[in-house]
Amino acid sequence: MIEKTKINKTHSHVHEKDQHHTHDDHSHNRVVQIEQDVLNTNNLLAQKNKGYFEAKNILALNVVSSPGSGKTTLLEKTIRELKNEISFFVIEGDQQTMNDANRISAAGSPVIQINTGNGCHLDADMINKAVKKLDVSNNSVLVIENVGNLVCPSLFHLGEDFRVVVISVTEGDDKPLKYPNMFHTSDVCIINKIDLLPYVDFSVEKAKEFAMQVNHHLQFFELSAKTGEGMDQWYDWLKQKRSKL
């Protein structure tokens, strides 16, 4: 059963499906099927980005999370460890400042900072432009660190190969249930800051269980970007995905 709701600009209330509302109905009115996705423009651009990445053999990752989960630290550590084996390029997204881009640059990777101002997510058009400015090389790994936000980025494909959602153990193990859209649309889930487990009431098993309820395809990594624990499995995954291209 599909519920129909009519919303008329000249009225302030919503019509339920069984109420009849008369309008001036000209006899030459015609109904034309459109069937067009509203996020079509972004999706098309995302596909264009994807094609560009494929042509240049670039592995593209979209890293998403709440602010403060440790995305930038994870990236810094990854770049420092692997930069002799893998060519990294990074796109940083924040409302303001160059802080994250500066950190990535210091870690040894070319980086471009996108400041969204009042914007709450990166979109395919921003990535399309940034990739050209950054001049990403063939056979490299492009990491897009999205704006810290577990809500909005879930709707906006960027053309990435994998979406990586990062949660830290200080955020509560029911996070995946509270923000299901993001976990549902991700491929990888990184549980970060495991060095803090003795000090918080976070059950890794419960967090994984909740995440699997929302998305049974998720692959998990439990690690600490700070201490290095568990990072090897993440590095192996990166190298494996890159060599599969």
Binding site: K9, R30, V31, I34, E35, Q36, D37, V151, F210, H216
Partner: protein
């Protein structure tokens, strides 16, 4: 979220198509919006009412088909209705399903003259 920018996208799609069809006025915009699309129906109504529109669109009535969500269990093939992303399969109780309906966000049709 983003109901205002979604509204702008909707109006762009409608205007573009209406112009191609040589329409003078758009009377109705029919949308398919799934209950798991991430769009808030009331926020969209609000955004629609408060966005400035061209003459062609200013009296268009928005009709939303609220598409219910359905899942198919990958363990036992059972199809079932859902209201959220984390309901288990009622047959085998596993959390091993794909969402097959309910995430739509599209302009379905327009009524024009």
């Amino acid at each position: 979220m983003h109901e205002f920018s979604i509204t702008l996208n909707i109006l762009n799609i409608v205007e573009e198509n209406a112009k191609k069809l040589n329409a003078k006025i758009v009377h109705e915009i029919e949308m398919d919006i799934g209950v798991l699309s991430g769009v808030d129906y009331e926020a969209l109504e609000f955004a629609m009412q408060h966005t400035k529109k061209s003459e062609m669109l200013e009296n268009a009535v928005l009709v939303i088909n609220k598409i219910p969500a359905k899942a198919r269990c990958k363990s036992c093939d059972f199809e079932f209705g859902i209201d959220d992303f984390y309901t288990p399969c009622p047959e085998c109780e596993k959390y091993h399903h794909d969402i097959i309906q309910g995430t739509e966000l599209k302009v379905k049709a327009i009524k024009i003259d």
